[in-house]
């Protein structure tokens, strides 16, 4: 016994699209961007193999040596190899940014969805708390907290993650609100489902595209915040290599027409643009899916 033939499904095409064909639909810009991100990741993972010298190794008697056959990008103010520092910097800068974003997303989205599902005073307390934190400019707040707690890498990660999670909270609460209003949430409540199921199985899959897109953006912001903090001297401390501090160290040279500082700056810019290109494509797809529904 089957459905009435008059009552046919709208799509006669394949029932599910594979991941491969999803990648194949990516525009050229997104594909190039993905290749660039992959290259960054490989550099970060295999930094000790790729770098010609150590991270903090003083290899030259001459600070700010110009590029030559031995030091492809020249040396910095202490006579360390710029290229090696750039390669190790990928590891530190990206690793810290990734850790920060992961923590801020886990925290922010869980609390955001919980606030949307439970509503009432839980929502009020969480939202007003977030409002208060967001009222203070993020960079200044981070500077204050870092000077209180001391500028170590774990402190840096936790403080930026906490401040960033307020933004994630706002976004995930807003998108979850739209899903909570749907009747399938009511149906789940009528089944007596717990909070964990409602968050994980009913809401999260529906807001995932937005969250992933937001993740890409937040990753860039975390990256830029760390660079900015390093530039101000409260970020990653020497001798650890990181692109933000490398820009700061070379910044005094700009008056003399030396363009060394542009090398780490370009590394930051290229990664940021690449991540955004991928995010844009993903957002396009996600909104397209929503329209199609």
């Amino acid at each position: 016994m089957h459905a009435d033939p008059r009552d046919i499904a709208p799509s006669a095409g394949p029932v599910r699209r594979s991941k491969r064909s999803l990648l194949a639909t990516a525009p050229l810009s997104a594909r190039i961007a993905m290749l660039i991100i992959l290259a960054y990741l490989l550099v970060a993972i295999f930094a000790p193999l790729l770098a010609p010298f150590g991270e903090a190794e003083v290899v030259s008697q001459m600070p700010y040596a110009p590029p030559d056959a031995q030091f492809l990008l020249g040396t910095d103010q202490l006579g360390r190899d710029q290229l090696s520092r750039l390669i190790y910097g990928a590891r530190n800068s990206m690793g810290i940014a990734l850790a920060t974003t992961l923590i801020s997303f886990t925290l922010g989205s869980l609390l955001g969805i919980t606030a949307a599902v439970l509503g009432g005073w839980v929502d009020q307390v969480l939202s007003r708390f977030v409002d208060v934190i967001m009222a203070i400019p993020q960079l200044i707040f981070a500077l204050i907290l870092l000077s209180i707690a001391g500028s170590s890498i774990p402190n840096l990660i936790i403080i930026i993650a906490l401040l960033d999670s307020t933004r994630v909270f706002r976004v995930s609460r807003a998108v979850a609100m739209n899903v909570v209003a749907m009747e399938f949430i009511e149906a789940a409540r009528l089944r007596g489902e717990g909070l964990a199921w409602i968050i994980r199985r009913e809401i999260l899959p529906n807001i995932m595209p937005t969250l992933i897109a937001e993740f890409g953006l937040r990753f860039c912001f975390a990256f830029l915040t760390i660079s900015a903090l390093s530039f101000l001297g409260l970020g990653i401390q020497p001798p650890t290599a990181d692109w933000g501090s490398m820009v700061r160290e070379a910044s005094s040279l700009i008056a003399y027409g030396n363009l060394t500082l542009f090398i780490p700056a370009i590394a930051i810019a290229v990664l940021t643009i690449s991540v955004n290109l991928v995010v844009d494509w993903f957002l396009d797809r996600a909104s397209g899916l929503r329209n199609a529904n």
Binding site: H2, A3, D7, A9, M182, A187, R191, E193, R201, E202
Partner: protein
């Protein structure tokens, strides 16, 4: 200028294609139609038949993502498809206009109704603003809108849905078009409101001698409005003819099946002795000081029978369903379920009570999580209520899919890969999976085409005979009630105005409101609306 008998609109062999997922499929497949001046043509078909696409093509327009691949649309001697866009645009809104299905979604909420009504005329310099305003007021009066002189100052949210639909008609008629395309203008309205809108549209169209294309899936409605009817299916013409001839003697099987939809009738069963659900003196209001949404409700749902709750929107019928489900908490009164007093909140009920009362929502689009497959949707109640796992659960999923007349191959589909009727079946299957004694069906067939409705109603009847489920069936549609109910409760403004076995409620004498509701349901004869208006006018003028 052409003579009066000449064709105003002549669509020849029109082909339209639409794109989805990079593939082009045919929406309108070589349809031809002609329309004389002052003639009303009804376009009938299920959703997806290409009615709206054809209607829009009469304006020389296709929706984004569609393209015209062949044919001609000749309006008053000119082929709209070969005209450049800047010569087509002045015709739209002036010579040809369009009335959309959802007036609420089509008005701009930030502008007054008057400004939106006269916008076309003023923008195109067809008449000065004062004159346009006077003409619009005339139209409002002709469409029997209340306070025609001042209603234009209001904003869309300040008038009712029926009034908004009439204002959109006034807007369409404002520039004195030769042709109006009505795209399901009354589908979203209650039957009682529908009568008023139909009457005023028909009057206005007749008075000005405007030609019209009237698109609908409701045959009884089109019978009142159209001189001729065209039946479409899968983008092709099935049958065409004069309205009376089409109603009396349809030639094609498909047309006959459309006509036969309203013939589902439940056989009368013996009254059941034991009540499953009893409600006594129930009151409910939204908020402490809010107006009463339910007042003094008393009713009984017998075991294995169907109680239909009928009323227009705002009558409190859905609220009542939600009170039983435990989603709304009653202010006072008692609900007894199978001998025990039902806790008011869903949170206070134990798992078994949750299982025994299931609510099936109206819209499967929002009631099914779009990211879950059919299997996941149906399996979850099996897990939570029956602790079924693995192969046992899978077997039950297959059984349920058979029960709702879908094959096992549908188990891996997402809701977006199902048709509207199939989605609603899955929605019902999720309720069935719990193994309920009482199923609250909240307008489960209202958003569906009549043929699909019929299929689902038959399925529900079969399931009831097989599983002895009681249905608390909320609907505004009288023909659905005829098809499925054992007992009927008529609700109006939160109160029960009439209740009893189906035969008693549907046969006279009626409570005045039941009379109004029954009378407003369109009937399949061409003079129904005329008769109804005449009898209402007669009773209104009687002392």
């Amino acid at each position: 200028m052409q003579t009066d008998n000449a064709h105003l609109l002549d669509i020849r062999d029109l082909r339209v294609e639409g794109e989805s997922d990079g593939q082009w499929s045919t929406l309108v497949d070589g349809v031809s139609l002609t329309l004389r001046r002052g003639e009303v043509l009804g376009l009938v078909g299920e959703s997806g038949a290409g009615k709206s696409t054809l209607g829009l093509a009469a304006l020389g327009y296709v929706r984004p993502g569609c393209r015209i691949t062949g044919g001609q649309v000749i309006f008053d001697g000119r082929d709209l498809l070969s005209l450049p866009e800047d010569q087509r645009r002045p015709l739209r809104g002036h010579r040809i206009s369009y009335v959309a299905q959802s007036a609420a979604a089509s008005f701009n909420p930030a502008h007054s109704l008057m400004n939106q009504t006269i916008e076309t005329a003023v923008q195109r310099h067809l008449m000065p603003a004062t004159e346009a305003r006077n003409a619009a007021t005339q139209q409002f009066r002709r469409l029997s809108l209340p306070h025609p002189d001042s209603i234009g100052k209001r904003y869309p949210h300040q008038v009712s849905g029926g009034q908004l639909q009439r204002i959109m008609t006034a807007m369409a008629m404002h520039c004195g078009p030769d042709l109006i395309v009505f795209d399901e203008p009354t589908t979203a309205l209650d039957v009682t409101t529908q009568v008023e809108v139909l009457a005023s549209i028909r009057e206005a169209v007749e008075a000005r001698g405007t030609a019209a294309i009237y698109i609908t899936h409701d045959l009884a409605v089109v019978a009142q409005m159209a001189h001729r009817i065209m039946v479409l299916r899968h983008g092709k013409l099935v049958e065409e003819g004069e309205t009376q001839a089409m109603l009396d003697a349809p030639q094609q099987d498909y047309t006959r099946s459309l006509w036969a939809v309203r013939e589902v009738q439940k056989t009368t069963l013996q009254a059941a002795e034991k009540p499953l659900l009893t409600i006594q003196g129930l009151n409910f209001s939204y908020g402490k000081a809010g107006p009463k949404a339910l007042e003094g409700i008393d009713l009984t749902v017998p075991r294995g029978r169907t109680l239909a709750v009928v009323g227009e929107s705002g009558s409190g019928k859905s609220t009542l369903g939600r009170v039983i489900a435990g989603l709304n908490v009653a202010d006072s009164g008692q609900v007894t379920f199978d001998g025990q007093v039902l806790p008011r909140r869903i949170g206070q009920r134990d798992k078994d009570l949750m299982r025994r009362i299931q609510l099936v929502h109206q819209s499967a689009d929002t009631a099914l999580n779009p990211r879950h497959t059919v299997r996941e949707l149906i399996a979850r109640p099996l897990e939570t209520f029956h602790r079924l796992r693995g192969s046992e659960r899978e077997r039950r999923v297959q059984e349920l899919l058979e029960m709702i007349e879908l094959g096992p191959r549908y188990a891996d589909r997402l809701p977006s890969e199902l048709s509207g009727g199939q989605k609603q079946r899955v929605n019902i299957a999720r309720g069935l999976a719990a193994g309920p004694d009482l199923m609250i069906c909240d307008e489960v067939t209202s958003a569906l085409d009549q043929l699909v409705q019929e299929g689902i109603l038959r399925m529900l009847l079969n399931l009831q005979a097989e599983l002895q489920i009681s249905y608390f069936f909320i609907t505004h549609d009288i023909s659905t009630v005829r098809a499925i109910a054992d007992g009927i409760v008529v609700m109006h403004h939160g109160r029960i105005v009439e209740a009893g076995p189906r035969q008693d409620v549907l046969s006279p004498p009626h409570h005045p409101y039941t009379e109004l509701l029954l009378g407003s349901a369109p009937q399949m004869r061409t003079d129904w609306l005329t008769d109804l208006l005449a009898s209402r006018a007669a009773s209104a003028s009687a002392p």
